[in-house]
Point group: C5
Chain length 343, copies 5
């Protein structure tokens, strides 16, 4: 299916109804609360009833597994998030976007993994004053790395925390680009040597994946540009430079993916012209064989006729003469093809 | 016909003349008046003479069947709508658009259904202070659902009512996208396995429908962006967030349809290269058969000649020798093709 | 000729020299003066010497036939029109455009007719305070209709008169769209059934005409957008809504023509893939015939050889045995092709 | 060479070094000084030492032949032109552009001639208060015409003089468009009737020339738009309308060249589909001949076999029977092809 | 590899970590300090500990070899450069860009060399008050030329120095364009005469390189436009005209590379149509040979049959009659092909 079937669930349902749309990717929904200030860090697994709403430092609420609709709803209520936002968090076929509400910013971004085939998850972030909430479909190494750095002491405000996560996500895109780049290299080799009908299918597949990837990364630029450019009360002026840096990475990814798309297009053309070349080769062989043998076969036909009066048949060296004529004809043909550069 | 023939009716007619352009899709024009406030709801089928112009709450006037030109005209007069607007309401080949008049907003939007082939209806909405008028060509489930919710108590202003209807229309587009997506999946399978000349026609049909769909959904974005962004006296500031949400859905639909169009284009390329591949296969077979048999048939021709002096013919094992030679030639050809990877 | 040869006449001539560039489409240049106010209408055919410059109502000066260079020049002088404008009026290869002079507005627009092949005329309008001058190459039904409505009493200012004419021109484009749409339908049928080399030429012709049409209608949007949006002293604020309506029609025409262009492009692709399909069919037939007969013809060749010692030739049922073997080979080939789905 | 080799001369040279880059197109560099006011005109050939810097009227300095680097440098000094401008004047591979310096305007434009193949020269203009300097690579008719008009009395300021020259250049582009249009007409005829491998090369050549032309005319629009729109002290407000007129011509040229490019593209497609059509024709002929003769040749093979017991061979009318059978087979094949519309 | 593998190193590393990403292109990292004012110049090779931070004139710090991470870090600290900037300096897969920090401007640009294949290096420049720092991967002739000019007395501020370097880089792009242009000329010749399967690969390679080049030069325009247009305290108003000049060169390079890309595209089409043409030639030959010999071979077959009663066989001149018939048939076929223009 090119678009997820689950999207149908939302049709004819009242607006702002929280429904989980997507695949269950972890067993259970886990809510991890990290509270920290310059001195202390505390990492706890919490229940939806005991959410830490106020703290003397920064609260990072990390939700893993979005099929727990009730949990997500409770979090929405606890932090007074608009029901439309909660609906979007649960709908994993959401677009990448940033929505600026009065006292929080809502960001949706995609995470790609390349297990077998390109897989895509949705990561939502809500940035409030001193609070960052992250909703994600499964565990990622790079978020663990962020957590480790926080524990190790690399602390900043909620906005800086958001930056490090977005930076990690965008950096993970480079890995996807590398995968695409390898696929293209492989296809290029294939097309230059031993391409088959399947090569065409692989090219189609590649373009499809590149298109899906593109759809997810283009809006990332706008999200980051908003955070880097506009004077938002939730983003410290000194941190804007960091968002500008990620923004720059995003543009680099977009440009490279554009370059890869151009390459894929050029590969398709290469494939088509090599197909034509191969057809030419096949037809050349057929034509050479036919052009050499059809005329001399005709000669054998002539002397296979049963006319009573055919003087050549009586000649002592008639047979050898004909063999010689046939060799000469065949040779002339070969010389002709040699000249044309066909053999 | 790629564009409706009825469009010709409008040529050489004075401007602002109300003429119904389109197909009659219901038997009779029905005018349904829903009046409600926080406490009460009343649903009535009314005649054009007894339109509820003033009420203590919200009036939703729902007209089903646009061939009733007189009815529509009377409604236009009763609510002082500009004749140009009434002309547009009746012309179902109208573009999707929003027009901002001084004390009302006029919106035209398209509804798609997929019975057999893509069908498109026109839905016009006029939003006035505490009044919403909807003109449509036939009955839809999703508008009934809206009505049920209003009766059940989910009430708001006329602007919120308009939002719920637009939201339902845009959500219904996802269903169309799913249909397209299924067609593409089917065509993809076909092209990979047993495509015929008809596959090409189906691809053409698909692109045509996607283009028609695109033409109707692109301007929806602008309509909703207007309602979400501009500070309009008819749209409550608190409700603007809802229009922003539908706007977001519209963009998602546009992006997905763009993605589907790219896929359709890539399918066409896949089809063409598979056609070429198949031609190569056909020509390979012909070439193999010809290249093996033409030379050995020539040999049989040689020994079919009737020369009196052909020593080989007299040899005892001449026949077997020639059979052997022919087998060797055929085998060598086969080995050659094996090496080339053709057999 | 893809661009009119007469364009060469303008090269190396001083700027603002009035030269008629185009084809003579009516016998004589006629100047029709319609003067009217709320009560009276007067329609006169006038000579260039007796132009009605001042009147108590609205003056509509309608010039038919642009080869009367002297007449046009005199009108320019009488109403103090800039010589560059007069030059443009006479040059029928002008672009569609609006030029805003201090006390008049100059509009150039194209009128299409579809007699045999697409023909294009130029219509220029000059709107002054209470005066409208229209220059056109021949008579049109839709302008007669406007005149009839004026006589019948449907009067307004010069700006409203200009609107009705522009509205009529834009509505006439729908007819052209219908013609294109029919051509496309015809070509589609042709491509699906019995296309020939000429089909390709027709497609080329269609694209060419669509391009010419596009070139003329795209700038219409900007012309009308100017009249609808900007606060111009010559356009009454209440009439701006009418220009907005024509503007809307123009956009619809552009969108539809864009859709038709996409269809034409898709038809070209369909044509190419059907050509390939047909080649495949031809080659399949050749391959089937060859593959069945070449091997069994070889067998007949073997038993046509004249070796003295060929035991099979002496067998009683040798002939029938060989016939049987040949039938089996042919049958096996047929089964093979059946399996491949070729027969 | 697709780009001029001489461009290499500029690499690794200090900035603003005056070097002549281009081909010498006249024998000697000539400096013509035309000084005029409302009453008098004086045309002199001057030496670089005696340049007329001040005058009681307008000075037009016309330099023909850019290889005289020293002359150009001296003019630059005499009229205090920035060294970067002089560098650009001498580099004939310059882009078309307008540069606004404090007290002069520098314009670079291209002149095309169509002797055999498209040739391009560079024309630079510097407009100062009451002074116009034109640098050009060779003599042109249209500049002579301007000079004649100045002598004849058609005088204006330096800005008006500049306008008449730019107008003449832009008008000369129409001639180039006519040449392109004729090439396209010729190619269209060729493709419809007797195209060869060379046709493809001609199409490539045409596209290349159209691209070169496009590169030179697109920026002309911006140059003229600057002169027409911005309130520049060197351009009289009353003359701005003239620049607007040339601007309009430039847009017409761009639109027409765009249309020609579309045509050229469509011609390429036409060519490819006609190539395919021709291949189909060739293959049809081969298939018809093969399909008719291969089966009946097989029959002759059967009765050419030397089996002792072949009853048919002994029949009295066996030979005639077989001839009849073969005729029937051939006829049936012909009928089959007739039905398919191949013959 | 289409994108450098080393990019993977940055994934899962804390932001702003200085890591060298790229290939080591010189043996050792060298830091060259050029200090100068109107009277004196001093060129020294310095150690990272003894960087000249303050001077009575201009300091140009030139770092060659970016693998010396520690050296670069120390320079960053000495001139208080933001760690993100240092990170970017070391990452040679950076995009071309300009970043405006409060008291310095950071520019990344690419240098291309064409040894065998297109190679690309990264050049970073930091412009501070009276200081210019250049980080580069290896030695270039054109920077040596700049240094020589500085020593010879062509001195200006740090901004003018930056201009001369950027100007030299942009001028070096013209050389690359010349290389591309030569490749295209070569390919054009190849396609017109003796193209092979490899030609297709070369075309693919060319497009790939042109795309890489394009990716690096497009943003150069924006970088230079920033320096030319905005009123930056670090760029002297009088020098802005120089940046405008380089900006102009950059646009020329972009336009030319765009033109080359169009040519490359047109070459691909030419190649494909020549492939088709060649196939047509091959098939024509096959068809001619087959169409001439298949019918006359059939005739020999007829008279090779062994029927007892075949009157023609007994005729005295039967053999000659048949030879004549066959010659006539062959001749007629030849005349037919002559008429069709095939031979």
């Amino acid at each position: 299916m090119v678009i997820p079937n689950e999207i149908g669930k939302k049709i004819a349902v009242p607006p702002a109804t929280p429904i989980f749309i997507g695949k269950k990717k972890v067993d259970e929904t886990v809510v991890r609360a990290i509270t920290y200030n310059a001195e202390n860090v505390e990492v706890l697994e919490v229940k939806p009833e005991e959410l830490p709403v106020h703290s003397k430092g920064i609260i990072w609420l990390d939700i893993i597994g979005l099929h727990g609709v009730e949990v997500v709803k409770k979090i929405g209520e606890a932090y007074s998030i608009h029901p439309l936002v909660i609906e979007d968090v649960l709908n994993t076929s959401q677009r990448v976007k940033l929505e600026d509400y009065e006292d929080y910013v809502f960001v949706v971004i995609k995470v790609f993994t390349f297990d077998n085939g390109l897989e895509v998850d949705q990561l939502s972030l809500i940035l409030k004053e001193d609070v960052l909430i992250t909703f994600r479909e499964r565990d990622y190494d790079f978020i663990d790395a962020v957590l480790k750095r926080v524990i190790a002491g690399g602390r900043g405000g909620a906005d800086y925390l958001m930056y490090t996560i977005l930076d990690a996500v965008v950096d993970s895109y480079f890995k996807i680009l590398l995968e695409f780049s390898e696929s293209i290299d492989g296809l290029e080799d294939e097309i230059f040597s031993r391409f088959t009908m399947e090569t065409s299918g692989k090219l189609h597949e590649l373009k499809r994946e590149l298109n899906r990837f593109k759809m997810a990364i283009y809006p990332v630029r706008d999200v980051l540009s908003f955070l880097a450019r506009y004077d938002h009360k939730l983003v410290d002026a000194d941190n804007r430079i960091y968002f500008r840096d990620v923004h720059d990475h995003a543009i680099r990814i977009i440009e490279t993916s554009e370059y890869l798309r151009d390459l894929a297009m050029s590969l398709r053309e290469l494939y088509l012209s090599n197909l034509s070349n191969r057809l030419n080769e096949i037809m050349k062989l057929l034509t050479i064989i036919s052009t050499i043998f059809i005329p001399i076969t005709f000669i054998t036909g002539v002397y296979g006729m049963n006319f009573r009066y055919m003087p050549e048949l009586e000649w002592k060296y008639g047979y050898y003469a004909v063999l010689t004529v046939m060799s000469v004809v065949a040779l002339m043909m070969l010389i002709y093809f040699k000249k044309k550069g066909w053999v």
